[in-house]
Symmetry: C2
Subunit: 222 residues, 2 copies
């Protein structure tokens, strides 16, 4: 890490776990902006979670992924990282210019990043217990998706807010994947499903997909 501080011009390093939806958000944003980066896989399950080891705690005191070493600094928290990329790499903007549309992008990001994902996070589900975890995750995802579908009914064009891909889409697609993992019935959310389908084949989203990560176990790869 000392070397990183001395070599801010080196390629960014993303601490990532293949199935982490928060890592995935940042991978999409990096890909959309065509920023080359190296991945340092942190296994959330090996040896009780590599994110809890002393070395990684120095990188991210929240002991979770992602973290991004970039420009000689270590940044944590996925949405914050994406805003940093947006502010420092203006190519391929991921935020609209219009102030109200910006608010709508942030709302959708915050519903997902504060209202849904934290409640179906691996470490929370461990605390909830094996028996109840599926029902618990379904409850909070369903609550969030109901609200998101309603927000999208006025904000969406081709994507979450208008016809350009924004940070909201970077948050939505990984959350839809999680919803499927927990067998949430997605039929009541046609706009969410349409946007997810629209982005499925996009090269930046495809390259960021869990099944295309270096740490994806062979049995989970497509």
């Amino acid at each position: 890490m000392a070397n990183q501080d001395l070599l801010p011009e080196s390629q960014p390093i993303l601490y990532s776990y293949w199935r982490s939806s928060c890592s995935w958000r940042v991978r999409i944003a990096l890909n959309l902006k065509e920023i080359p980066y190296d991945i340092k896989p942190i296994s959330l399950i090996k040896s009780g979670g590599e994110q809890h080891c002393n070395e990684y705690r120095e990188v991210n005191p929240m002991e979770q992924v992602p973290a991004l070493q970039i420009d000689g600094h270590t940044l944590i928290e996925s949405v914050s990282i994406m805003y940093y990329l947006e502010e420092t790499r203006p190519q391929r903007p991921l935020m609209p210019q219009d102030v109200l549309k910006r608010a709508k992008v942030r709302e959708i990001c915050e519903v997902i990043a504060s209202g849904v994902q934290p409640l179906q996070n691996l470490i929370v589900l461990i605390h909830v217990g094996e028996e109840k975890k599926k029902e618990w995750a379904q409850h909070w995802i369903t609550r969030g998706f109901r609200a998101i579908e309603k927000l999208l009914s006025t904000s969406a064009g081709k994507f979450c807010v208008g016809d350009e891909i924004t940070l909201a889409d970077c948050c939505l697609v990984p959350q839809v994947f999680n919803a499927r993992r927990f067998h949430v019935d997605l039929r009541p959310y046609p706009i969410i499903l349409r946007i997810d389908r629209e982005l499925e084949g996009h090269p930046a989203f495809r390259a960021a997909h869990p099944s295309n990560q270096p740490d994806c176990p062979p049995e989970a790869a497509k």
Copy 2:
């Protein structure tokens, strides 16, 4: 609400609950920026929670506070609302100019808004159950505060990031209040405590305090 749409110049209306830490964040930001606003109290406990009634669901499909009617629009999600205020009301900036400091403000906001508050939220604690709720809340607040104290060790000046009040402070103070409610031992977090003490007497923070809200029950008022 139809009237609001026709009268964008009217005073903003904040849907708020006295003890909601997310409402409190926005109250602080409005006060710091000296934006006059009206409060429409939404009781999270009366009749099973007024936030779940049909009328309010139209305001905020997440069925939670806060929501802000401003400039003819309805905005939800507390951190997003604060950024909207920052972008539309540049007086008394609550974000630093420096891009790295901005990232640090966002990190602290996101640790609190995604990593701590959602897990000790009233609706989550109802699901956790009466017996376990104190231990549950303490666990997640402690985890977050450990990380925040570490982040502050490099970012803090007089306040969370440098010597100016930022959105990070708007998020921190209400979270410290919640920590005390759940009897979290705060002695391991001297920087958090120092900043909280520093802001305790600030007029904008004091006016936003739960005990100074119109819907604060008399027995809880200072």
